[in-house]
């Protein structure tokens, strides 16, 4: 369920300063979106794949698997955009018409859809670069350095930690229910899931109280203050990132991208 998370802790770029990785992912992502050019999208896709597979050492098969995850949403979205529904007649590459309605695909629609498809894939590869190389604790660190309010950071810390605890509990309850045939039919599945959710909620409530006790016994008085991890910036990395992103930006201008 959380394989992205485990790669984040075990990849070869784990020790690189998280701010460098965040900057690389975000700047490239924004250029890719802003450019809206096929060439830029392909370049971003290529660079990010190389970074993830080549530098971070994530197996290609694994990365390809991750990239295919959001494809269903993407295809539905893109096709919906490509299809035009109208009462006016139009120039369709392919179309149906009945009862005065025209439903079809126009050349402009297809072009827009293809650009959008690759733009999204490029953007998704940036997202994956970040999430496969940077553990959540490091992302929280960057947000803290960016002066995001402490309350927000603390809630993130707690939620991240307890996602794993509760997921384990949920799995145990689910296992125990299915070993007593709790998911053998639709109706029973429904009530089993309802019981799972309520039990999990009650447990979450109890856990929060016990956590409060445990933290209070360590002198908690309202703030979850902890030591920062320590990272070193690398001038070499930063120059490399700047060069890459300038290159992509130049390519975008050259290929005529740039409209929002």
């Amino acid at each position: 369920m959380f394989s992205i998370d485990s790669y984040a802790y075990s990849n070869k770029l784990r020790k690189v300063h998280p701010a460098e990785k965040c900057a690389f992912a975000m700047v490239t992502l924004i250029i890719c979106l802003a450019a809206s050019s096929l060439l830029t999208s392909l370049a971003v896709l290529l660079i990010m794949s190389a970074a993830v597979v080549g530098y971070a050492g994530i197996p290609f098969r694994v990365f390809a698997g991750f990239m295919s995850l959001p494809v269903s949403f993407l295809l539905v979205g893109v096709l919906t955009i490509a299809v035009t529904v109208s009462r006016e007649p139009g120039v369709y590459l392919w179309g149906l018409s009945f009862w005065g309605f025209n439903l079809g695909i126009t050349a402009a629609g297809v072009a827009a859809a293809v650009i959008l498809l690759f733009k999204s894939l490029g953007a998704v590869s940036c997202l994956y670069f970040l999430s496969l190389t940077t553990p959540m604790i490091d992302i929280i660190y960057v947000l803290r350095k960016m002066k995001v309010p402490a309350l927000f950071i603390e809630l993130m810390t707690l939620i991240y930690r307890f996602i794993f605890v509760l997921a384990e509990t949920a799995e145990k309850i689910y296992t125990s229910q299915s070993s007593r045939l709790g998911y053998a039919g639709v109706n029973v599945s429904f009530s089993s899931l309802g019981e799972l959710a309520s039990t999990l909620f009650i447990k979450s409530f109890h856990r929060s109280q016990m956590l409060f006790q445990a933290l209070s016994s360590r002198c908690y008085t309202g703030g979850l203050n902890v030591l920062d991890n320590y990272y070193e910036f690398s001038i070499k990395n930063m120059l490399f990132i700047a060069a890459l992103d300038l290159g992509i930006a130049a390519l975008s201008l050259y290929s005529g991208g740039g409209q929002l």
Partner: protein, 283 residues
């Protein structure tokens, strides 16, 4: 010929994170026996149990029930789970219903039994575990020991042929442990095969007919308790301890207080009897 109710043949299984994996397990559980599975945390005991019940499916190898390979289709799985029940380690994650009665009836209702039979089974299960008085209590307010009993009754009400207990005595005080073990003996006397995992070598030594020792997803030793615990290197290498009775027996023998070549005593009482007999003989 021995009749095996549960078997694992060359079972391999791997979790994504690598812990608790099984690396080619071969085990045969004899019908009607009391079997204890020993092994350190993460040796793969719980993973093996989830295979016996069809919750996990081996990546390689087979699980056999009553000599038939398990088939992972809806109907056959239901049949398997009806016959092989697992009582999980932590009753807090097993119990999920509002009342004890609802909780115990969950299994039999899912078996599609008629209402009268469900009622009768739930009552029988509550009686066998001594919790009849808790019938209408909400499960959240029970003590740990009571929850443990409810979690056992949960499975009893399905009337399986094999009952598997994952660490049944963890967190129970000695008195409750003893009571729980008595329930197991009773079940065994009724003809059920009882399998349990434990860290308590003293308990395993006294209780089990057959002991299986697991280490890093493999079976590293198997046999009657009197044999297993005399294997010096097996006990040392797997982080087990020798049961106190065995230790004491060997020490007494070394010191010459026990001379007989009788088999190892299985209980404290048997050891004491041996001592007393020796004394009488000496006089």
């Amino acid at each position: 010929m021995k009749e095996y109710i549960l078997e694992a043949k060359g079972v391999e299984f791997r979790y994504p994170d690598g812990t608790g994996a099984l690396n080619g397990i071969n085990i045969a559980v004899e019908k009607g026996k009391k079997v204890a599975v020993l092994g350190s945390n993460g040796a793969g005991k719980s993973t093996l149990f989830l295979h016996f019940n069809g919750i996990l499916k081996p990546h390689k190898g087979n699980i056999l029930f009553n000599g038939q390979p398990v088939c992972y289709k809806h109907k056959q799985l239901t049949e398997l789970r009806k016959n092989v029940g697992i009582v999980f380690q932590d009753p807090d994650t097993q119990l999920f219903s509002a009342s004890v009665w609802q909780e115990i009836s969950f299994g039999p209702i899912n078996l599609g039994l008629p209402k009268e039979q469900v009622i009768q089974r739930v009552n029988a299960a509550m009686e066998a575990t001594g919790i009849t008085g808790l019938k209408d209590r909400p499960t959240h307010f029970l003590s740990y020991g009571q929850k443990k009993r409810v979690s056992i009754a949960d499975i009893l009400s399905m009337e399986p042929q094999v009952i598997i207990f994952d660490e049944p005595t963890a967190w129970l005080d000695p008195k409750l442990s003893l009571q729980v073990m008595e329930i197991f003996d009773l079940l065994n006397q009724q003809g059920k095969t009882v399998v349990l995992s434990t860290h308590d070598v003293d308990l395993a030594y006294t209780w089990a007919d057959h002991i299986i020792v697991m280490e890093q997803g493999q079976v590293v030793g198997e046999g009657p308790p009197e044999v297993i615990f005399l294997k010096e290197d097996l006990v040392c290498n797997t982080g087990l301890e020798r049961p106190f009775i065995v230790d004491m027996y060997l020490e007494l023998k070394k010191s010459g207080y026990i001379l007989s070549n009788k088999p190892l005593p299985r209980t404290k009482e048997a050891l004491f009897a041996l001592l007393a007999a020796q004394k009488t003989a000496a006089v």
